[in-house]
């Protein structure tokens, strides 16, 4: 047991939870503004790729980080623009952008690195002690600059939503777009700005994912965007709770890795992965989260 409940597990939990939490908090930003965003997966992928590509080309990890964030912002805001300005259905747009990100990153892998599976490895940020176990791993996970930025973004988001003009406007647009418009807001613009913030936060997750692996792998987001969506729903569209849910998912996954190493890869342990999805379905079916969603989600202002 001590092997499972070790500092390594804590470090692993943290490491695994960061991309989930970033995507989930990004999802909260998008959906609190009233735009359905099932394209988090695609934002994770694109930003992961962009960060690796730029970091590889320039040899600079910060440049990679900014590139990742930039691409995340653009892709997410583009989703907002498609939904709000060209009136494309948000689900269709989300699916198409997921597909686009998946295909375009693979295509770019081939174009840039002539590989169908992964990029060359990059340095990433080198902070903290080396070593793959215990406190060394934990320190490195905690002081990883991307993780620190992610933590700041995750912690700041509830405050931003609650205490700033942008946050207030975002919430108003998500809850009652007609009233927001009557109060003089440009609902479409506010939503696109919220989507840009969403993209930036979510992109931190993508960058973390890539820098953590020190390379980009095709399809490396591996459904994290969808788990994040589950966390958003479970949390009742609240950033803090969504992040906590993601931490729980991270712990489960870390434990599962630990269990597998203990019991020589019992396949039954993979069923633990079902948990976030089943929990989401149960919570919704039992009506625990009733009324928690922004009331104006997916709705344009009337007249």
């Amino acid at each position: 047991m001590s092997e499972i409940l070790s500092l390594t597990t804590v470090a692993e939990t943290w490491r695994i939870a960061v991309p989930y939490a970033c995507a989930a908090v990004g999802g909260v930003w998008a959906e609190r503004s009233g735009v359905i965003q099932i394209g988090l997966e695609g934002v994770l992928l694109s930003s992961a790729f962009a960060s690796v590509a730029v970091a590889h080309a320039t040899g600079s990890a910060p440049a990679g980080l900014f590139a990742g964030i930039g691409v995340g912002v653009i892709q997410s805001a583009f989703h907002g623009w498609l939904v709000e300005r060209t009136k494309i259905d948000a689900v269709v747009s989300g699916i198409a952008l997921n597909l686009l990100a998946y295909a375009a990153t693979r295509m770019a892998l081939r174009a840039l690195y002539d590989s169908s599976s992964n990029s060359p490895s990059i340095g990433g940020f080198e902070v903290g002690p080396r070593g793959a176990e215990g406190w060394q791993l934990l320190l490195r996970a905690l002081f990883d600059p991307v993780a620190v930025l992610a933590l700041i973004a995750v912690v700041a988001s509830p405050w931003l939503l609650q205490r700033t003009r942008l946050g207030l406007r975002v919430r108003a647009c998500g809850e009652h777009p007609t009233a927001a418009q009557a109060a003089g807001l440009d609902v479409a613009r506010t939503r696109i700005v919220a989507l840009a913030v969403s993209g930036a936060v979510c992109a931190l997750g993508g960058v973390h994912l890539a820098f953590d692996q020190h390379r980009f792998e095709a399809g490396m987001s591996g459904g994290r965007g969808f788990i994040a969506l589950a966390a958003v729903v479970l949390s009742g569209w609240r950033a803090g709770r969504a992040a906590v849910a993601c931490l729980a998912f991270g712990l489960l996954e870390a434990l599962q890795i630990g269990l597998q190493s203990l019991f020589r890869a019992s396949p039954a342990a993979t069923l633990v992965q079902l948990l976030p999805y089943v929990a989401t379905l149960l919570v919704l079916a039992l009506g625990i989260g009733r009324g928690a969603a922004p009331a104006g989600i997916g709705r344009a202002p009337e007249t």
């Binding site: 498609l82 060209t86 379905l281 709705r299």
Partner: protein, 366 residues
């Protein structure tokens, strides 16, 4: 037209970016698809699942629902087909074995659709969220079943018995020799016609369409909206379950992890592009089948994913064109009860969130 022009532009840009002459690449793409009988057969093979998933998505959309769960439904169905195929195919003649195996797949997929439909119609859980969650559940569940349940080592089932195989089209059209197209393609075309006819003529089909157009009017006039929604999801799921006919029974002869993956999402594109009728749907499936096959044939020059990029662009362009022109009722069936028009009171009826929509009985005794 707008979408086709846009797609062609993107195609040229991509190809040029890879340093090839667009015209040459286009030539290679044509040669690998409609240019030869083999290529044509491959296109038909690729189009088969797309037609079925497109039809599946279309049926649900006509009832105002987004069956985003086709991906998981077809995978689980195909797994069941691959699991039953070896024994049933060995024990029974084709006339019995094929319907049994396909039927089992259809039933499984339909049950998954029914679950999403029930959760939407009776519990108010939006089908998009439940669809995504069920898809992910299937993703996790499949390898586990293959390894633990079936004891497979290579993430595939055993070869299915001869009785459960579907013959290739080459039996009748020798020119298709070597290509993977089977009788599943003409079968899918027939199914498309039948389903369209059923939607137009049958009581259930017509009421489903009506529910998609105006759930409020249907509810007020005594149409059982909840039941029709569940039925639409069952039918949609069942159609996704038919996909195994082309992949497992007609081509591979076994189920392996990832077989048919992506067809569910591409089906959405097919349904969007081919929404104006059965012929349009078949043509859209052929078009996207062509894209998929063309991607393979130009893979040496331009990665086949270029075609997926094109697909995404086409989806967006078609959706944008529909959005700009107002589109038709079916494509505007937005999440939530967007089709429930005339809701005057924003505070009460405005609450149609993604995760929970009000169950059909709109007024309940507290």
């Amino acid at each position: 037209m707008f979408a086709a022009a846009g797609a062609l532009l993107v195609f040229n840009l991509v190809v040029a970016a890879f340093g090839y002459a667009p015209r040459d690449t286009l030539g290679a793409a044509f040669a690998g698809t409609w240019g030869t009988a083999y290529g044509t057969g491959q296109v038909l093979f690729k189009a088969t699942p797309l037609l079925l998933t497109g039809l599946a998505f279309h049926v649900a959309l006509r009832c105002g629902l987004f069956n985003i769960g086709t991906e998981g439904q077809l995978a689980l169905g195909a797994l069941v087909a691959g699991w039953l195929g070896p024994s049933v195919g060995a024990a029974f003649p084709p006339l019995l074995a094929v319907p049994l195996v396909v039927g089992a797949s259809v039933t499984t997929a339909a049950a998954l659709g029914a679950l999403a439909g029930f959760m939407r119609a009776r519990l108010g859980v939006h089908e998009i969220i439940s669809g995504i969650m069920l898809n992910r559940c299937v993703d996790v569940f499949l390898p586990w079943v293959l390894v633990v349940g079936l004891g497979a080592t290579a993430l595939r089932t055993d070869d299915i018995g001869a009785g459960a195989r579907l013959p290739g089209l080459e039996v009748w059209v020798p020119a298709f020799s070597g290509s993977a197209v089977s009788v599943a393609f003409p079968g899918a075309v027939v199914v498309t016609g039948v389903v369209y006819l059923w939607l137009e003529r049958s009581v259930a089909g017509r009421e489903m369409r009506w529910v998609g157009l105006s759930p409020t009017a249907c509810g007020s006039q005594g149409v059982d909206v909840a039941r029709r929604r569940i039925q639409a999801m069952v039918l949609s799921g069942g159609l996704a379950g038919l996909v195994c006919a082309g992949t497992v029974l007609g081509y591979k002869g076994y189920y392996e992890l990832g077989l048919g993956a992506g067809a569910g999402f591409s089906g959405i594109a097919v349904a969007m592009v081919g929404r104006s009728g059965p012929v349009a749907l078949v043509l859209a499936a052929l078009a996207f089948g062509t894209l998929a096959q063309a991607g393979l044939s130009i893979n040496a020059q331009v990665p086949k994913e270029a075609m997926s990029v094109l697909e995404a662009v086409v989806i967006l362009l078609v959706a944008a064109a529909a959005g700009v022109t107002g589109g038709d009722g079916a494509t505007r069936a937005t999440p939530g009860d967007g089709a429930e028009k005339g809701d005057g009171d924003g505070a009460e009826s405005g609450a149609a969130p993604l995760a929970r929509t009000r169950p059909v009985p709109s007024e309940r005794v507290p």
